[in-house]
Protein backbone atom coordinates (compact mmCIF):
# COMPACT_ATOMS: atom_id res chain seq x y z
CA UNK A 1 0.00 0.00 0.00
CA UNK A 2 2.78 2.47 0.82
CA UNK A 3 4.06 2.19 -2.71
CA UNK A 4 0.63 3.17 -3.94
CA UNK A 5 1.01 6.79 -2.93
CA UNK A 6 3.16 9.76 -3.79
CA UNK A 7 2.97 9.46 -7.54
CA UNK A 8 2.38 13.17 -7.98
CA UNK A 9 5.10 14.02 -5.50
CA UNK A 10 7.51 11.80 -7.39
CA UNK A 11 6.85 13.55 -10.64
CA UNK A 12 7.72 16.82 -9.00
CA UNK A 13 10.99 15.62 -7.52
CA UNK A 14 12.61 14.63 -10.78
CA UNK A 15 16.22 15.73 -10.77
CA UNK A 16 16.69 17.95 -13.77
CA UNK A 17 19.97 18.62 -15.51
CA UNK A 18 20.09 21.98 -17.27
CA UNK A 19 19.10 21.54 -20.88
CA UNK A 20 19.16 23.61 -23.98
CA UNK A 21 15.89 24.81 -25.47
CA UNK A 22 14.64 22.45 -28.16
CA UNK A 23 15.90 23.05 -31.66
CA UNK A 24 13.22 23.58 -34.33
CA UNK A 25 11.95 20.37 -35.93
CA UNK A 26 10.45 19.86 -39.38
CA UNK A 27 7.00 18.27 -39.34
CA UNK A 28 5.92 16.50 -42.50
CA UNK A 29 2.34 15.26 -42.45
CA UNK A 30 1.90 13.40 -39.18
CA UNK A 31 5.58 12.73 -38.73
CA UNK A 32 9.08 14.10 -38.12
CA UNK A 33 11.22 12.18 -40.66
CA UNK A 34 14.54 13.73 -39.62
CA UNK A 35 16.07 12.36 -36.39
CA UNK A 36 16.83 15.04 -33.80
CA UNK A 37 20.42 13.87 -33.34
CA UNK A 38 23.17 12.65 -35.65
CA UNK A 39 23.83 9.66 -33.43
CA UNK A 40 21.15 6.95 -33.66
CA UNK A 41 18.91 6.38 -30.63
CA UNK A 42 19.68 3.51 -28.28
CA UNK A 43 16.70 1.21 -27.51
CA UNK A 44 18.11 0.05 -24.17
CA UNK A 45 18.51 3.61 -22.92
CA UNK A 46 15.07 4.35 -24.34
CA UNK A 47 13.46 1.57 -22.36
CA UNK A 48 15.06 2.86 -19.18
CA UNK A 49 13.60 6.31 -19.85
CA UNK A 50 10.14 4.93 -20.64
CA UNK A 51 9.88 2.97 -17.38
CA UNK A 52 11.41 5.76 -15.28
CA UNK A 53 8.58 7.50 -13.41
CA UNK A 54 10.55 10.71 -13.17
CA UNK A 55 12.10 10.91 -16.62
CA UNK A 56 9.70 9.44 -19.17
CA UNK A 57 6.65 9.30 -16.90
CA UNK A 58 5.13 7.14 -19.66
CA UNK A 59 3.84 4.38 -17.37
CA UNK A 60 1.93 6.86 -15.25
CA UNK A 61 -0.56 6.87 -18.14
CA UNK A 62 0.27 3.93 -20.44
CA UNK A 63 0.36 0.19 -19.99
CA UNK A 64 2.81 -1.74 -22.08
CA UNK A 65 4.93 -4.88 -22.39
CA UNK A 66 6.78 -4.37 -19.12
CA UNK A 67 6.21 -7.43 -16.93
CA UNK A 68 8.73 -6.10 -14.40
CA UNK A 69 6.87 -2.82 -13.89
CA UNK A 70 4.22 -2.49 -11.23
CA UNK A 71 1.46 0.10 -11.28
CA UNK A 72 1.17 1.00 -14.91
CA UNK A 73 -1.45 3.64 -15.65
CA UNK A 74 -4.70 3.19 -17.54
CA UNK A 75 -5.20 6.61 -19.07
CA UNK A 76 -3.68 5.96 -22.49
CA UNK A 77 -3.34 3.33 -25.22
CA UNK A 78 -1.26 0.18 -24.68
CA UNK A 79 2.28 0.68 -25.90
CA UNK A 80 2.52 -2.96 -27.05
CA UNK A 81 2.78 -2.95 -30.83
CA UNK A 82 3.41 0.80 -31.06
CA UNK A 83 6.37 0.10 -33.35
CA UNK A 84 4.17 -1.93 -35.68
CA UNK A 85 1.42 0.69 -35.82
CA UNK A 86 3.70 3.65 -36.44
CA UNK A 87 6.93 4.41 -38.26
CA UNK A 88 9.84 5.93 -36.34
CA UNK A 89 9.06 9.26 -37.97
CA UNK A 90 5.45 9.10 -36.74
CA UNK A 91 6.53 8.00 -33.26
CA UNK A 92 8.95 10.93 -33.16
CA UNK A 93 6.16 13.48 -33.63
CA UNK A 94 3.99 11.72 -31.04
CA UNK A 95 6.77 12.12 -28.48
CA UNK A 96 7.95 15.57 -29.54
CA UNK A 97 4.52 17.19 -29.64
CA UNK A 98 1.44 14.98 -29.78
CA UNK A 99 -0.74 18.05 -29.49
CA UNK A 100 0.00 18.72 -33.16
CA UNK A 101 -2.17 15.67 -33.92
CA UNK A 102 -4.74 16.07 -31.17
CA UNK A 103 -4.91 19.50 -29.53
CA UNK A 104 -6.94 18.02 -26.66
CA UNK A 105 -4.50 15.25 -25.86
CA UNK A 106 -3.38 14.78 -22.27
CA UNK A 107 -0.06 13.35 -23.41
CA UNK A 108 2.64 15.90 -22.60
CA UNK A 109 4.71 17.33 -25.44
CA UNK A 110 8.16 16.03 -24.56
CA UNK A 111 10.22 18.32 -26.76
CA UNK A 112 8.45 21.64 -26.67
CA UNK A 113 8.75 24.61 -24.34
CA UNK A 114 6.58 27.28 -25.88
CA UNK A 115 2.87 27.73 -25.21
CA UNK A 116 3.11 26.48 -21.62
CA UNK A 117 1.68 28.21 -18.58
CA UNK A 118 3.04 28.68 -15.01
CA UNK A 119 5.88 26.20 -15.45
CA UNK A 120 7.76 25.77 -12.13
CA UNK A 121 11.14 27.56 -12.17
CA UNK A 122 13.14 24.30 -12.07
CA UNK A 123 11.54 23.18 -15.34
CA UNK A 124 11.15 26.48 -17.14
CA UNK A 125 12.38 26.65 -20.76
CA UNK A 126 13.47 23.03 -20.65
CA UNK A 127 11.80 20.26 -22.61
CA UNK A 128 10.79 17.16 -20.61
CA UNK A 129 13.29 15.09 -22.61
CA UNK A 130 16.31 16.32 -24.52
CA UNK A 131 16.94 15.48 -28.18
CA UNK A 132 19.03 12.42 -27.42
CA UNK A 133 16.49 11.06 -24.98
CA UNK A 134 13.71 11.51 -27.54
CA UNK A 135 15.73 9.51 -30.06
CA UNK A 136 16.40 6.79 -27.48
CA UNK A 137 12.66 6.53 -26.71
CA UNK A 138 11.76 6.42 -30.41
CA UNK A 139 14.37 3.69 -30.99
CA UNK A 140 12.89 1.67 -28.16
CA UNK A 141 9.26 2.13 -29.25
CA UNK A 142 10.24 0.92 -32.73
CA UNK A 143 11.18 -2.42 -31.16
CA UNK A 144 7.64 -2.92 -29.78
CA UNK A 145 6.35 -4.99 -32.70
CA UNK A 146 3.92 -7.36 -31.01
CA UNK A 147 0.51 -5.90 -30.12
CA UNK A 148 -0.38 -8.92 -27.98
CA UNK A 149 2.74 -8.65 -25.83
CA UNK A 150 1.29 -6.47 -23.14
CA UNK A 151 1.92 -7.30 -19.52
CA UNK A 152 -1.08 -5.29 -18.45
CA UNK A 153 -0.03 -4.95 -14.85
CA UNK A 154 -3.14 -3.01 -14.01
CA UNK A 155 -3.07 -1.01 -10.82
Amino acid sequence: MRALVAVLAMIALAPMAPRAEPAPVAIVGDAIPQPLTAEAGDPARGRAIVVDRQKGLCLLCHVGPFPDQRFQGDMAPDLAGAGARWSSAQLRLRIVDGSRLNPDTIMPSYYRTEGLNRVAPAFRDKPILDARQVEDVVAFLATLQDPSATSSQKP
Partner: protein, 260 residues
Protein backbone atom coordinates in the same frame (compact mmCIF):
# COMPACT_ATOMS: atom_id res chain seq x y z
CA UNK B 1 -8.55 11.94 -26.40
CA UNK B 2 -11.48 12.49 -28.68
CA UNK B 3 -10.58 11.32 -32.19
CA UNK B 4 -13.28 13.54 -33.63
CA UNK B 5 -11.36 16.49 -32.31
CA UNK B 6 -8.16 15.77 -34.22
CA UNK B 7 -7.63 19.15 -35.76
CA UNK B 8 -4.30 20.82 -36.32
CA UNK B 9 -3.27 24.44 -36.18
CA UNK B 10 -1.30 26.28 -33.58
CA UNK B 11 -3.98 28.87 -32.87
CA UNK B 12 -6.41 26.11 -32.01
CA UNK B 13 -3.87 24.42 -29.80
CA UNK B 14 -3.39 27.62 -27.85
CA UNK B 15 -7.13 28.22 -27.57
CA UNK B 16 -8.20 24.71 -26.64
CA UNK B 17 -5.17 24.26 -24.48
CA UNK B 18 -6.06 27.31 -22.44
CA UNK B 19 -9.76 26.69 -21.95
CA UNK B 20 -10.94 23.28 -23.06
CA UNK B 21 -14.62 23.27 -22.10
CA UNK B 22 -15.19 19.77 -20.79
CA UNK B 23 -17.81 17.49 -19.49
CA UNK B 24 -18.91 18.32 -15.99
CA UNK B 25 -19.64 15.39 -13.68
CA UNK B 26 -23.40 14.80 -13.45
CA UNK B 27 -24.81 15.14 -9.92
CA UNK B 28 -25.80 11.47 -9.85
CA UNK B 29 -22.22 10.43 -10.66
CA UNK B 30 -20.55 12.49 -7.98
CA UNK B 31 -18.43 10.52 -5.51
CA UNK B 32 -16.54 11.57 -2.45
CA UNK B 33 -12.78 11.11 -2.54
CA UNK B 34 -13.29 8.43 0.12
CA UNK B 35 -15.01 6.24 -2.49
CA UNK B 36 -11.66 5.81 -4.25
CA UNK B 37 -9.85 4.53 -1.16
CA UNK B 38 -9.32 0.99 0.09
CA UNK B 39 -11.94 -0.43 2.47
CA UNK B 40 -9.32 -0.24 5.19
CA UNK B 41 -8.71 3.49 4.77
CA UNK B 42 -12.45 4.12 4.48
CA UNK B 43 -12.95 2.34 7.78
CA UNK B 44 -10.20 4.44 9.34
CA UNK B 45 -12.05 7.60 8.33
CA UNK B 46 -15.39 6.26 9.56
CA UNK B 47 -14.18 5.12 12.96
CA UNK B 48 -13.67 8.12 15.24
CA UNK B 49 -11.46 5.99 17.47
CA UNK B 50 -9.08 5.22 14.58
CA UNK B 51 -9.29 8.49 12.59
CA UNK B 52 -6.17 10.50 13.46
CA UNK B 53 -7.98 13.66 12.36
CA UNK B 54 -10.11 13.39 15.50
CA UNK B 55 -7.01 14.09 17.59
CA UNK B 56 -6.53 17.35 15.71
CA UNK B 57 -10.20 18.18 16.26
CA UNK B 58 -9.73 17.52 19.99
CA UNK B 59 -6.76 19.91 20.03
CA UNK B 60 -9.00 22.36 18.22
CA UNK B 61 -11.58 22.12 20.96
CA UNK B 62 -9.06 23.18 23.60
CA UNK B 63 -7.92 26.06 21.39
CA UNK B 64 -11.56 27.08 20.94
CA UNK B 65 -11.85 27.52 24.68
CA UNK B 66 -8.39 29.00 25.34
CA UNK B 67 -8.14 32.74 26.01
CA UNK B 68 -5.35 34.24 23.92
CA UNK B 69 -4.00 37.43 22.38
CA UNK B 70 -4.00 41.01 23.65
CA UNK B 71 -7.77 40.91 24.16
CA UNK B 72 -7.54 37.82 26.34
CA UNK B 73 -10.62 36.35 24.70
CA UNK B 74 -11.34 32.81 23.52
CA UNK B 75 -13.35 31.87 20.45
CA UNK B 76 -15.99 30.58 22.88
CA UNK B 77 -16.24 33.98 24.56
CA UNK B 78 -17.74 35.38 21.35
CA UNK B 79 -19.30 32.30 19.72
CA UNK B 80 -20.30 30.15 22.69
CA UNK B 81 -20.51 26.41 22.29
CA UNK B 82 -19.05 25.39 18.94
CA UNK B 83 -21.55 22.52 18.76
CA UNK B 84 -24.29 25.10 18.23
CA UNK B 85 -22.52 28.30 17.15
CA UNK B 86 -20.35 26.64 14.50
CA UNK B 87 -22.91 24.16 13.18
CA UNK B 88 -23.01 24.41 9.39
CA UNK B 89 -20.41 27.18 9.21
CA UNK B 90 -17.63 25.21 7.50
CA UNK B 91 -20.19 23.86 5.00
CA UNK B 92 -20.76 27.33 3.59
CA UNK B 93 -17.19 28.63 3.33
CA UNK B 94 -15.53 30.39 1.43
CA UNK B 95 -17.79 33.39 2.04
CA UNK B 96 -17.74 37.06 1.13
CA UNK B 97 -15.90 39.34 3.53
CA UNK B 98 -17.29 42.89 3.58
CA UNK B 99 -14.16 44.50 4.96
CA UNK B 100 -11.85 43.27 2.21
CA UNK B 101 -14.61 43.11 -0.43
CA UNK B 102 -13.26 39.68 -1.34
CA UNK B 103 -14.00 36.06 -0.51
CA UNK B 104 -12.19 34.41 2.38
CA UNK B 105 -11.95 30.75 3.26
CA UNK B 106 -12.43 29.31 6.73
CA UNK B 107 -8.74 29.72 7.53
CA UNK B 108 -8.92 33.36 6.48
CA UNK B 109 -11.93 33.79 8.75
CA UNK B 110 -10.16 32.18 11.70
CA UNK B 111 -7.19 34.48 11.25
CA UNK B 112 -9.39 37.59 10.94
CA UNK B 113 -11.00 36.71 14.26
CA UNK B 114 -7.60 36.23 15.81
CA UNK B 115 -6.36 39.58 14.59
CA UNK B 116 -9.46 41.71 15.06
CA UNK B 117 -11.16 40.13 18.05
CA UNK B 118 -8.42 38.37 19.98
CA UNK B 119 -5.61 40.78 19.07
CA UNK B 120 -3.43 37.75 18.42
CA UNK B 121 -1.00 36.97 15.61
CA UNK B 122 -2.45 35.11 12.63
CA UNK B 123 -1.79 31.38 12.52
CA UNK B 124 0.68 30.27 9.85
CA UNK B 125 -0.61 28.25 6.88
CA UNK B 126 -0.71 24.53 7.69
CA UNK B 127 0.35 25.23 11.28
CA UNK B 128 -0.75 22.78 13.92
CA UNK B 129 -3.15 25.23 15.54
CA UNK B 130 -4.78 26.28 12.28
CA UNK B 131 -5.24 22.63 11.32
CA UNK B 132 -6.69 21.87 14.74
CA UNK B 133 -9.19 24.74 14.73
CA UNK B 134 -10.17 23.98 11.12
CA UNK B 135 -10.73 20.31 11.95
CA UNK B 136 -12.77 21.19 15.05
CA UNK B 137 -14.94 23.76 13.26
CA UNK B 138 -15.30 21.44 10.24
CA UNK B 139 -16.43 18.64 12.51
CA UNK B 140 -19.43 20.75 13.59
CA UNK B 141 -20.72 20.47 10.00
CA UNK B 142 -20.06 16.77 9.56
CA UNK B 143 -22.94 15.11 7.73
CA UNK B 144 -24.41 18.43 6.63
CA UNK B 145 -24.64 19.23 2.93
CA UNK B 146 -21.98 21.46 1.38
CA UNK B 147 -23.90 24.71 1.00
CA UNK B 148 -21.98 27.56 -0.64
CA UNK B 149 -23.82 30.87 -0.13
CA UNK B 150 -25.94 32.23 -2.97
CA UNK B 151 -24.18 35.57 -2.79
CA UNK B 152 -23.91 37.29 -6.16
CA UNK B 153 -20.81 39.14 -4.97
CA UNK B 154 -19.01 35.78 -4.99
CA UNK B 155 -19.85 35.05 -8.62
CA UNK B 156 -16.94 36.79 -10.37
CA UNK B 157 -14.48 35.13 -8.01
CA UNK B 158 -16.02 31.70 -8.45
CA UNK B 159 -15.93 32.16 -12.22
CA UNK B 160 -12.23 32.94 -12.04
CA UNK B 161 -11.82 29.71 -10.09
CA UNK B 162 -13.73 27.86 -12.78
CA UNK B 163 -11.44 29.29 -15.48
CA UNK B 164 -8.37 28.26 -13.51
CA UNK B 165 -9.82 24.77 -13.18
CA UNK B 166 -9.75 24.28 -16.92
CA UNK B 167 -6.50 26.07 -17.63
CA UNK B 168 -3.59 23.89 -18.58
CA UNK B 169 -0.45 24.49 -16.57
CA UNK B 170 3.03 23.29 -15.81
CA UNK B 171 5.66 21.55 -17.90
CA UNK B 172 3.31 18.55 -18.20
CA UNK B 173 0.55 20.91 -19.38
CA UNK B 174 -2.47 19.53 -17.53
CA UNK B 175 -5.59 21.26 -16.31
CA UNK B 176 -7.38 20.21 -13.14
CA UNK B 177 -10.37 19.32 -15.31
CA UNK B 178 -8.38 16.93 -17.49
CA UNK B 179 -7.61 14.76 -14.50
CA UNK B 180 -10.65 15.26 -12.30
CA UNK B 181 -13.53 15.73 -14.77
CA UNK B 182 -12.25 13.71 -17.73
CA UNK B 183 -10.21 10.93 -16.14
CA UNK B 184 -11.51 10.37 -12.60
CA UNK B 185 -11.64 6.71 -11.68
CA UNK B 186 -8.63 5.95 -13.87
CA UNK B 187 -5.14 5.53 -12.50
CA UNK B 188 -2.13 7.75 -12.70
CA UNK B 189 0.45 5.04 -12.12
CA UNK B 190 -0.85 3.52 -8.92
CA UNK B 191 -2.98 6.46 -7.76
CA UNK B 192 -6.70 6.40 -8.46
CA UNK B 193 -7.78 9.83 -9.67
CA UNK B 194 -10.63 11.13 -7.49
CA UNK B 195 -13.20 13.71 -8.56
CA UNK B 196 -11.57 16.37 -6.38
CA UNK B 197 -14.43 17.17 -4.07
CA UNK B 198 -13.15 19.12 -1.11
CA UNK B 199 -15.76 17.99 1.40
CA UNK B 200 -13.43 16.19 3.83
CA UNK B 201 -10.77 18.81 4.51
CA UNK B 202 -8.67 19.15 6.54
CA UNK B 203 -7.60 15.55 6.11
CA UNK B 204 -5.15 13.21 7.77
CA UNK B 205 -3.00 11.85 4.96
CA UNK B 206 -1.09 8.64 5.60
CA UNK B 207 1.57 9.65 3.10
CA UNK B 208 2.19 12.91 4.97
CA UNK B 209 1.83 11.22 8.34
CA UNK B 210 -0.03 14.32 9.30
CA UNK B 211 -2.88 16.70 8.70
CA UNK B 212 -3.22 19.01 5.73
CA UNK B 213 -5.60 21.68 4.54
CA UNK B 214 -7.06 21.88 1.07
CA UNK B 215 -4.40 24.29 -0.15
CA UNK B 216 -1.68 21.77 0.66
CA UNK B 217 -3.48 19.26 -1.58
CA UNK B 218 -3.89 21.83 -4.35
CA UNK B 219 -0.20 22.74 -4.17
CA UNK B 220 0.64 19.02 -4.49
CA UNK B 221 -1.48 18.72 -7.61
CA UNK B 222 0.13 21.81 -9.12
CA UNK B 223 3.69 20.74 -8.45
CA UNK B 224 2.78 17.26 -9.71
CA UNK B 225 2.31 18.72 -13.17
CA UNK B 226 5.49 20.77 -12.64
CA UNK B 227 3.60 24.03 -12.35
CA UNK B 228 4.61 26.83 -10.04
CA UNK B 229 2.14 26.46 -7.18
CA UNK B 230 0.37 29.56 -5.87
CA UNK B 231 1.60 30.61 -2.45
CA UNK B 232 -0.48 29.67 0.59
CA UNK B 233 -3.31 32.15 1.07
CA UNK B 234 -3.24 33.33 -2.56
CA UNK B 235 -6.51 34.73 -3.85
CA UNK B 236 -6.33 32.18 -6.70
CA UNK B 237 -6.63 29.38 -4.15
CA UNK B 238 -9.69 30.97 -2.54
CA UNK B 239 -11.20 31.28 -6.03
CA UNK B 240 -10.52 27.62 -6.73
CA UNK B 241 -12.00 26.74 -3.33
CA UNK B 242 -15.17 28.68 -4.21
CA UNK B 243 -15.48 26.75 -7.43
CA UNK B 244 -14.83 23.42 -5.70
CA UNK B 245 -17.49 24.20 -3.07
CA UNK B 246 -20.03 24.88 -5.83
CA UNK B 247 -19.03 21.67 -7.58
CA UNK B 248 -19.62 19.73 -4.35
CA UNK B 249 -22.86 21.53 -3.45
CA UNK B 250 -25.12 19.17 -1.51
CA UNK B 251 -22.43 16.58 -0.81
CA UNK B 252 -22.16 15.81 2.91
CA UNK B 253 -19.21 17.23 4.83
CA UNK B 254 -16.88 14.41 5.99
CA UNK B 255 -14.32 16.41 7.95
CA UNK B 256 -11.92 15.20 9.21
CA UNK B 257 -11.17 12.93 6.25
CA UNK B 258 -8.45 10.31 5.95
CA UNK B 259 -6.56 9.84 2.70
CA UNK B 260 -3.81 7.42 1.59
Amino acid sequence: MNPAARIGGLALIAMLGAFAARAQIADADRKSGAAFMSAQTQEMQRDDGANPGMLAALDGESLWNARTGGAGKSCADCHGEAQTGMKGVAARYPAFNEASAAPIDLQGRINLCRQDQQKATPLAPESRDLLALSAFIGLQSRGMPTAPPDDPRLTPFRERGRALWSQRMGQLNFSCAQCHDDNWGKHLGSAPIPQAHANAYPIYRLEWQGMGLLQRRLRNCMSGVRAQAFPYGAQEFVELELFLAERARGMPVETPGVRP
